[in-house]
Symmetry: C2
Subunit: 709 residues, 2 copies
């Protein structure tokens, strides 16, 4: 038997290493030249704007936080929840916000340094700085994820093992409270992702339309006052939102797996081992990420003089492959070591999941990269106007749901059948769920690549706004292009793992209901309540998408009107423009846009539970999962393809043609789909599940009293 | 006990009355002045184009028909099907095509007459002619629906009651073969609807974009050579497709209800009565439609001199209300008479269904009429460019799925609970299903209003192309506006009833599986195959939408390129343009576009059945239903709202502004959503179900042999 004490400490060691390296990397970036005063000024303006937005958002989150803690407190008083849930929820939410702030700070301190390096030293050094800063962000996320999950597990394990003699009952309490912890992380992620998404896309749509289409200005032209808001948006949406989202996914996968491990091994000798396993795989992932980061840094430093986009792209892609491969190999030994050779099939189903994630990433690439037919055709159809382009973009986006869905179905069936002989459905799901953990263990590396993009983007904005020679902008544009392929595959991993995690959470909910000794018939041909729950679930993603992209559309309206007014004044020399008004407009829009979804995401599982009973809730979770998965992929790929179709036209030097105007419209339609609504689907799916799990006992009681189910 | 013989003959009497009146109405229209030679010439060109398209489509359908009949023949040989299925399938398909042809013929003979009347006699007389022609179309559909269902029922009843002594077994054969009959109707409808939809929207998008946006020509300008194809599209899509679709829905609802009636009353004294009931309600609907048509004709003839749009709109709306009210009253007595007072609750659940249909219609109106906030906001957002407008349009479209879904959920739960005491779930579904029949029994009237629109549209096209004074076009535009509100509500009825019919069909499939004495567990937390089936089902509507709107986009591309070329030549006086090339382009596109979906719609239920077993198929049906319903409403309303936003801007006299250009782009994006993919969702949902039912025994056998389920 493995040494449990050692395993319990291991994640802390991983977290410590991540943190130390993050500090070193941040210090390395800090030593670089900040650039000219004008660059620093713009970088500061972006920082101040980002901070103002985050502060405002933190206030809204605080209100929700207080209300929810009070509600949870009431549940504690009536015995529906254990009191450690209250601090667990708080740290889940707090850490998420914290890394949002730190990520924003790292990005805004590095952006002008990258611009300066791009001007003075070329692509290699610029990439070096951007990548190092991004790596600091990614490793910090690793620190938080490992520390937070391990901290709560150890605290709760110690606490309940002391107070409850029955180990199974003690662990039941532990996993239940861990769920509350993920609710905190998910809820923060929901706010950061959707709020940031509304902010960034409203600013982007408005700035692009008035600037590029109406006034014929280039991207980030210094005369377009909405540009600063656009660059702030990159930080709050693509950095803050993305990081909170990834943290939530990773932590969510770990804890869903722990819950399933508990269910599958309940009462057995391996119960605690199975719960520790996902944390160890995650630690392995952090180590693998560090390995890949160092390899890339080494390669980049050798290229320094003669770096090209294709070489650097190959490097980041190799980094991703190395990370994944290392995780797979480490998982194999970890599973054998922790659970013993009888449970080898768990490794195989986990491997199937990782392959599925990779496949989904590849499909994403095929549907959104301009080297392949879909994006090429979309950019072709620009010739017959914006409407045909948008229709083609939407068509390809919808088509792109087929292969990922079949992949998820395939891995699901595979995992079930591989674990069939040895145990029940819970074991199969535990295996599938482990694969989500393996996929998400690449997060520190994936986030590095993801955060790298907005830093490069920002540095390009600074180059344009400080009117540097066009070749500097070209260098930063290349820099931006480097991470795209790898980030696209990374996004596929995220989507795939989210689907699997949600599946695991659905099963966790169902098992929790079974723990209550309730017999629930999930047969939708026998019980109309199941059908009603499924129906509600399938519809939810449509509703949430409409709320989010509607908020973006309305805010973009306002940005356009204001930008038009200001640009007119600027062009005629009447004023210098006031970038702050844009930040105010979009901040308010983001704020307003997240309140209704924020309330609904908590209210809906409870209302459905009371009206339709626990069976209806399982159906709700499944319905949301299936339709949300399809919507997420549709929106991500439709938006991504139209974005790249535009870029393709720009690369071909057709920037002032009607085709380009058509492609800008397509890109703008796709933007809120891919960056606001699309990514929030994953969080929606999981929040619905975890809220349902958390309130299961309460809701079942209420429902029973009210309707005598 | 009611007299069964009388009841069995009643639908034939209804069919006869409908046919006689249709002939009278057609003759009345025929007596009107055909208009100037130029009008007749254009009308003929539209007729020739429509016929050419229909002939081409009939050829494709014939190929599919032959292949399917051979496959069915093989199934007959191996005992998986009864031989009368072969002719039943043939008439289902044949009648659908026939009324497509006749509808097209009526429309194209009346359009120039309406133009002439609009020019010489004003709105009232123009409306009179258009309405009379449309009524002939609507009643003809009534004839076919009543005759065809009654004919097959009576023939099969006679045949199997003679050859099989056990009445339950005899009826089982009857309802099984009736399903084959609806497959024919559904399959024809699928071709007519999607093929017509691809045709009409590709022509429309191309003609509009090049004509209106690029060349600044008015709608239907005689210099735009793609205009004839656009007008042909109105006939083949909005007349031919719509009629085949409605026939399919109505007949499908009748037969699904008969199937459920058989299941609910199997072996009881009331078995045959319950199967006859939906046909009697349908006959009542035809009679009620005739009543409403006469009332409207009376009112219109009194208005003749001083007709206004609002008066005429109120009149058609009143007509719809009268029809529905008459059906409800007649249903009450019919249910009492045929099943006795013990089954009164069936009337109540049917009434709930009708109300739900009305509500869905109202919601459609709210989300697409320019008097209400959504469309107003969309037209407002034209100010900030096409992208914001499209994003807002999509957002409202998605939002609009909420209330209809809740309504369907509500009526479903209501019907189950109201029938709970007396019987099982099948009885509840029989009640819900009766409501679909009641809703669809308004079809003869609804089709009258629906067909009336394209006739008015065509007559406007003729007015523009013959360069009549603009006030004539204004008159025909008013004429077009008259039916819109009523048609929107009618569409809601169709969508709502389709969802309910699909639900009934899902249950029919499930019951058929039970008849085979198979125990199927539909618990998606216990059997991953169920989850896989659900997942596949939820994804299908995305896939089909992408195939259909992708086909439209590609064809529109070609139309744009060709129109650009021809208009350039026309404007420079080099040529007179060649409208026929457009008809060829879009006909080919439509042809190609329907082949893949046509094959898939048959292959998918079979493949899923073989791989996942019967449980997976039930899940497939349910998944397709839920996601298809949401998609259908999203697309119909997003498209409708953007269409009306454009019309609102035009009505406000802002036809040459950038806002108008933005709204045209929005309309063009929405077109394939609302008129190609949206309406085909209903047929997709139902075809998946009926094909599954038809192949249930075969597939279960194969699946069992291959995978030992």
């Amino acid at each position: 038997m493995p040494n449990l004490m050692f395993l319990r400490i291991l994640p802390f060691i991983g977290a410590l290493i991540c943190m130390l390296l993050a500090i070193v990397f941040a210090a390395m970036v800090g030593k670089k030249n900040r650039g000219t005063p004008r660059m620093v000024e713009i970088s500061n303006a972006i920082f101040v704007g980002s901070r103002a937005y985050l502060n405002q958002q933190a206030r809204i989150m605080a209100i929700f936080f207080i209300v929810l803690e009070i509600l949870f407190g009431i549940m504690v008083i009536f015995g529906y929840l254990q009191w450690p849930s209250l601090p667990a929820f708080a740290t889940g939410m707090g850490f998420s916000l914290l890394i949002g702030y730190i990520g924003m700070w790292i990005s805004t301190t590095s952006n002008s340094r990258v611009t300066y390096a791009a001007q003075k030293k070329g692509l290699g050094e610029a990439m070096n700085i951007a990548f190092t800063a991004a790596a600091a962000s990614g490793l910090l996320l690793g620190t938080v994820a490992l520390f937070d999950t391990a901290f709560w597990f150890n605290i709760l394990y110690w606490f309940y093992n002391r107070s409850i003699p029955d180990p199974a009952l003690a662990m039941e309490n532990v996993v239940n409270i861990l769920i509350t912890f993920t609710i905190g992380a998910s809820f923060a992620a929901f706010f950061m992702r959707t709020g940031g998404g509304i902010f960034t896309k409203a600013a982007d749509m408005g700035a692009d339309y008035v600037g590029k289409v109406e006034s014929g200005l280039a991207e980030d032209d210094y005369r377009n006052p909405a540009t600063i808001a656009d660059n702030v948006g990159d930080n709050v949406g693509d950095v803050g939102g993305m990081k909170a989202d990834s943290l939530e996914s990773w932590v969510g996968a770990i804890i869903a797996t722990e819950f399933l491990g508990f269910l599958a091994f309940k009462g057995s000798q391996l119960m605690v081992n199975s719960i520790i396993l996902p944390m160890i795989i995650s630690t392995a992932g952090a180590i693998a990420s560090i390995l890949a980061i160092f390899i890339i840094k080494l390669i980049v430093s050798r290229y320094r003089e003669n770096a090209t986009v294709s070489k650097l792209t190959a490097t980041t892609l190799a980094g991703l492959l190395i990370t994944v491969l290392a995780i797979v190999i480490l998982s194999y030994f970890t599973v054998r070591y922790i659970l013993g050779p009888d449970y080898n099939f768990l490794f195989w189903s986990s491997l199937g999941g990782v392959l599925a994630g990779f496949l989904i990433g590849l499909f994403t690439l095929i549907y959104t990269d301009s080297r392949y037919r879909p994006t090429r055709n979309i950019s072709e159809s620009a010739k017959s106007g914006p409407a045909t382009l948008v229709v083609n973009g939407l068509a390809y986006g919808m088509e792109s749901t087929l292969l990922p869905a079949l992949t998820v179905i395939g891995v699901m069936l595979f995992s079930f059948y591989i674990s069939r002989g040895s145990s029940d459905i819970k074991m199969g799901l535990y295996g599938v769920s482990l694969s989500a953990v393996s996929m998400l263990a690449v997060t520190p590396f994936a986030i590095t690549i993801d955060v790298y993009g907005p830093i490069a983007d920002n540095s390009g904005g600074i180059a344009s706004m400080t009117e540097l020679p066009p070749e500097v902008r070209r260098t930063t544009d290349k820099l931006d292009a480097v991470g795209n392929t790898t980030a696209a595959i990374g996004k596929g991993l995220l989507i795939g793992s989210a689907a699997i995690t949600a599946l695991a959470l659905g099963q966790s909910y169902f098992s929790k209901i079974e723990l209550l000794n309730l017999q629930v018939l999930l047969d939708f041909m026998k019980d109309p309540k199941i059908l009603a729950g499924l129906f509600t679930g399938v519809m939810l993603p449509f509703l949430f998408t409409s709320l989010l992209i509607g908020a973006v559309g309305r805010a973009a309206d306002k940005v356009v009107v204001e930008a038009r007014r200001q640009i007119k004044d600027i062009m005629s020399g009447k004023s210098k423009g006031d970038p702050k008004t844009f930040i105010t407009i979009v901040t308010r829009a983001a704020q307003r846009g997240i309140i209704a979804p924020g309330i609904m995401i908590f209210a809906i599982p409870v209302i459905v539970g009371i009206l339709l009973g626990p069976g209806g809730v399982v159906a709700l979770i499944i319905g949301t999962l299936l339709s949300g998965f399809a919507q997420a992929i549709f929106m991500a790929n439709a938006g991504g393809a139209m974005d790249n179709a535009k870029k393709k036209i720009e690369e071909e030097g057709r920037s002032n043609t009607p085709e380009h105007a058509a492609s800008v419209i397509g890109d703008t339609v796709g933007d809120p789909l891919k960056d606001t609504a699309g990514p929030s689907m994953n969080i929606l799916i999981k929040l619905i599940s975890v809220v349902a799990i958390e309130t299961a006992v309460l809701v079942t009681d209420l429902s029973g009293r009210l309707f005598h189910f």
